[in-house]
């Protein structure tokens, strides 16, 4: 009958929790601590049927409060984390990991390493197997810290090396770290996932020791194995590696293809276009045009002078050669309704001219070709440029006069 509003333990704690959440959202750490103090007795109840039990809630909320509260210190934080580790054996490794992350954020690398080693040696019956994923992560992070140590040793060695001294002890230590790091890093990147930092470090190690084949294999796996989630960075890493290795343009181009599909606005698209433009294959040049046009669809590229210069160069070359105007026509077709307002307004003409003359030059060239020399943008910039007696603008004007009807063929 009237039992819905009866105040009982459960309702009281639910209300308490909502007060805590409100306080957290408003960053009122003292108030959150006040209510959490009242909430902790929930631990004495068994909530095995609940989705998230009080011990997990207390762990997460307590962490937040202790991390942000002005009067809290790392010592207290660590003490709290140790208590949380004993609370739920099913969460043990997760709590360890989060603790380690906090230590790293606080710059306590050594403590983090100690905790990682400790966690790695943890065994608890069948739980060890169940928490296998967390264990792998712990090992991976230890590998990462080993890499970091290796890197430090390497720098020491390089510095000393300049003086002509070679410190054997340092070198051996360095190799030791390498071995430890390599083992763990290799393991984690086998599992499908996003492991950017681990991959980078591992590849760095491999390259240093000259194992380029392994490095290439790792990067290929990371980029092309369909089990791994689509990750633009994977392709970027591969491309950078291949570039370092001095690979052919062909393989460099093929490395960037998928990146273009996933992230058409990536900054590497400029490099991509530059390579494609110079290609002997018609298909590749065609692709290059598409790539640069697509990149400039994005607001982030609006003021990218380099991108505009790529486009300008390519369309100018096409216009001069009088071949493949249909390429431009095709690209312009889907853009002619909105690019004028997006890129070539009078307002932008003024602004570009004021802020970046090179940018306005390149854009004006493109505008003239696509919209004709009477379009707002070209008129303004060209006029300003000639007024300022800048040579290239005069050249531009002449060029446009010669090809003044091209735009009709493009838009018609």
């Amino acid at each position: 009958s009237s039992n819905e509003h009866k105040l009982n333990f459960k309702k009281s704690k639910e209300a308490c929790l909502s007060y805590i959440q409100d306080a957290l959202l408003q960053k009122q750490w003292k108030r959150a601590a006040e209510f959490l103090t009242c909430y902790v007795e929930s631990l004495e109840k068994d909530y095995s049927r609940e989705h998230i039990g009080p011990s997990e809630i207390i762990w997460r909320i307590g962490t937040e409060i202790l991390w942000h509260h002005s009067q809290s210190c790392m010592k207290e934080f660590n003490c709290f984390m140790e208590q949380m580790k004993t609370l739920g054996v099913k969460r043990y490794l997760k709590v360890c990991l989060e603790h380690i992350f906090h230590l790293l954020c606080n710059g306590q690398i050594d403590e983090a390493y100690q905790n990682l080693s400790l966690a790695e040696s943890w065994r608890f019956g069948e739980q060890t197997a169940i928490q296998d994923k967390e264990m792998k992560l712990i090992q991976a992070y230890r590998g990462l810290l080993d890499y970091y140590s290796w890197s430090k040793q390497k720098n020491i060695l390089l510095e000393n090396g300049e003086d002509g001294f070679s410190d054997l002890a340092v070198e051996q230590e360095m190799h030791g770290y390498f071995r430890k790091a390599a083992v763990n890093l290799k393991e984690i990147i086998k599992i499908p996932g996003v492991w950017d930092i681990f991959v980078k470090c591992y590849v760095d190690l491999l390259e240093f020791y000259g194992d380029h084949n392994e490095a290439r294999q790792v990067l290929n796996e990371y980029a092309y194995n369909s089990k791994f989630p689509a990750n633009p960075n994977a392709h970027v890493y591969l491309y950078q590696f291949l570039k370092r290795q001095g690979e052919s343009k062909k393989s460099l181009i093929s490395a960037l293809k998928i990146l273009h599909d996933i992230v058409p606005s990536h900054e590497l698209m400029i490099d991509f276009n530059t390579m494609l433009q110079k290609s002997k294959k018609r298909k590749k040049r065609r692709l290059g045009l598409e790539v640069i046009f697509t990149g400039l669809d994005y607001a982030g590229w609006k003021e990218n002078a380099k991108a505009w210069s790529c486009l300008a160069r390519q369309v100018k070359q096409i216009v001069i050669s009088e071949k493949h105007l249909d390429w431009i026509k095709h690209e312009w077709n889907s853009r002619k309704d909105w690019w004028p307002a997006f890129h070539f307004s009078r307002y932008l003409a003024k602004r570009n001219w004021q802020e970046n003359k090179s940018l306005s030059y390149e854009k004006a060239l493109v505008a003239g070709i696509l919209l004709g020399k009477d379009c707002k943008y070209f008129k303004y910039v060209s006029h300003q440029g000639c007024k300022a007696q800048l040579k290239r603008f005069r050249m531009l004007k002449k060029f446009m006069n010669r090809h003044s009807l091209v735009y009709l063929r493009i838009s018609g």
Binding site: S1, S2, N3, H5, K6, L7, N8, F9, K10, S12, A15, C16, S18, Y19, W29, K30, R31, A33, E34, F35, L36, T37, C38, V40, E41, L43, E44, K45, D46, Y47, S48, R49, I58, G62, I65, L66, H69, Q71, S72, E76, C79, F80, Q83, T86, L87
Partner: protein
């Protein structure tokens, strides 16, 4: 005293007690093995209340505990509660004479003591618990899960899966099931027959005694004191002596995790009074605190309303006869009269009076307020006229603040206490570890909570809101005049307001749906909601209960008019 067996040696029935608590025959001084049940004198103050006779076993168990029965536990609880009431100023007579006798009467009627106990019942229970080593083998013996599910308490103790799963591993004796001797039996008993004792019922007992003594404390106040911690209830078992070990099913009986509501305690009290065959309670007369005239005065003050309204509440009370002794006094077992909730009744009377004078239709009261405001501005001599608007603003503000405080307090309530509880000895270490961790965390985060420390229990006070006439900001309305809403007609003061709206035209049948009217289903004016909300806060009960009383009063008040209308309607139909 109740032991009637013949002495083996001399065949007489003339028993006495040795110092050690053993029985001896006064005729031939034969000492037998039967010992008086260990009743620690700590349990009861009144030495007249004696043994709870039973077949007895060894006095002390190996773990330092003793055998104890559930009703002994409840006796202790009641003792603590009544002592707390005494500390609050209740007459000491209540403990020694009234409550004690009620309790004894209850024990007798429920056949737990002071009678020829059906020994067969106990013996069976004990033997069942002792004999079998394998829990699941005996199909007759109720499984622990079954016992758990029987109890109506809704605590999370029931969902303690880890406990339930450990049942199958149990192979020991009674100590696992309960620290008390008859814990499992208690839960199994058919509740309807004998009015089984529960923790909420202890409050009913107390209130029954208070009512009998006509102490100046209403049920809502009493329950508020309980929640505020002035009357032991929540963790009262921590005052049990060390020897009385609580575990297993005892927890289900003595550990509560919710506050009982007014209705629950109220209804149980009436059931109890009937069960105990009590006679008519002492009369509640006009000079009694519980009389609506008195309570109205108190509530008017607390609600910051003008004293002049008291004339009106008295008039209403008189007119509908709810000030009559026979109406107000409890006659147990009388099913035909509606049970009187003195506090709710008084609050409802005030609301009806407000409706009479101010209509409370979200228009008229503001209109009247404007007139009063005008008058107050222009004419500062003589007392101020009561302005509904000002009153509303002042009271609403304070109410909002207090409600917010109350909500926060409810969220911050600490339910656990120092004394750890565990189902079985096996769980003990885990429970103690958890408790330690909780205490550690409380310390750690308590320090970070800043200067906001948990305040000491505030002293219990009868008034939750107080208004001082000395305040120069005019926030106290006690002395304000009602002249603005009254007029003189034929020498009598009547309300200027000619209208009245009924909360409901037809009263529902309380026995069918539990309510006289349905507050939530209908849309009422905001002002009405507000005054209901105000008294709902003061009495700590749901507004719908006050609403029911308001409906009841209205129907009594306008009885003739309603009757006429009904009659008229039936005439038409013909």
């Amino acid at each position: 005293r109740d032991f009637n067996e013949r002495c083996a040696q001399c065949s007489e029935v003339n028993w006495g007690l040795t110092d050690g608590g053993g029985f001896y025959c006064r005729t031939c001084h034969n000492v037998i093995e039967r010992t008086r049940e260990v009743v620690n004198t700590d349990f009861i103050t009144n030495s007249r209340v004696q043994t709870i006779s039973k077949g007895s076993k060894k006095q002390e168990k190996t773990d330092g505990g003793c055998e104890w029965y559930i009703c002994e536990g409840f006796q202790l609880v009641l003792k603590k509660q009544v002592e707390a009431l005494e500390a609050l100023g209740v007459c000491p007579q209540m403990k020694d004479e009234i409550l004690c006798n009620f309790w004894r009467c209850y024990l007798q009627k429920s056949k737990q003591a002071y009678c020829q106990r059906p020994a067969a019942e106990t013996v069976k229970a004990l033997s069942v618990c002792e004999s079998s080593t394998d829990v699941d083998s005996d199909p007759e013996r109720p499984s622990l899960l079954h016992l758990l599910s029987l109890s109506e308490s809704e605590g999370d103790l029931q969902t303690d899966c880890s406990f339930a799963s450990s049942v199958s591993k149990v192979s020991e004796s009674t100590s696992v099931y309960s620290g008390s001797v008859d814990g499992s039996l208690y839960i199994m008993k058919n509740q309807k027959e004998k009015l089984r004792m529960t923790m909420p019922m202890t409050l009913s007992f107390c209130y029954m005694a208070l009512l009998w003594m006509r102490e100046p404390i209403t049920l809502s106040e009493f329950l508020r004191f309980v929640v505020e911690g002035h009357i032991p209830y929540l963790n009262v078992f921590q005052h049990f002596p060390e020897k009385m070990k609580l575990c297993g099913l005892d927890l289900k009986i003595f550990c509560v995790e919710s506050w009982p509501v007014y209705e629950e305690v109220f209804n149980k009290m009436h059931e109890l009074a009937a069960f105990l065959d009590l006679p008519r309670f002492p009369d509640i007369t006009e000079s009694c605190f519980l009389h609506p005239d008195m309570l109205c005065m108190k509530y008017l003050m607390e609600a910051n309303l003008p004293d002049e309204l008291h004339n009106w509440t008295c008039r209403v009370v008189k007119k509908i006869g709810i000030g009559e002794v026979d109406f107000l006094t409890l006659m147990p077992g009388n099913k035909s009269t509606r049970k009187v909730k003195h506090d709710v009744l008084a609050a409802a009377v005030i609301i009806v009076v407000l409706k009479l004078l101010f209509l409370l239709d979200d228009h008229y009261e503001w209109l009247l307020s404007e007139f009063a405001e005008e008058r107050n501005k222009n004419n500062t001599e003589g007392g101020p006229y009561f302005e509904f608007k000002k009153w509303y603003e002042v009271v609403k503000h304070v109410l909002d603040v207090e409600q917010k405080k109350l909500d926060e307090e409810r969220a911050k309530y600490l339910w656990r206490c120092e004394k750890p509880l565990f189902y079985s000895v096996k769980k003990k270490s885990k429970v103690l570890k958890r408790r330690q961790m909780v205490v550690n965390l409380q310390n750690q985060f308590g320090k970070l909570a800043g200067s906001v420390q948990r305040a000491e229990k505030p002293n219990p006070s009868s008034f939750q809101l107080s208004w001082s006439e000395e305040n120069t900001d005019g926030s106290c309305f006690h002395g304000h005049s009602l002249k603005g809403v009254l007029q003189e007609k034929r020498g009598l003061l009547t309300a200027m307001n000619p209208d009245y709206w009924l909360c409901t035209v037809k009263l529902c049948n309380e026995k069918l749906c539990g309510h006289l009217a349905h507050y939530k289903d209908v849309e009422f004016p905001q002002s009405y909601h507000f005054v209901l909300g105000l008294f709902s806060f003061l009495l700590r009960i749901q507004p719908s209960y006050i609403h029911d009383e308001v409906c009841m009063i209205e129907h009594k008040l306008f009885n003739k008019k309603l009757y006429k209308k009904l009659k008229y309607n039936t005439v038409l139909r013909k």
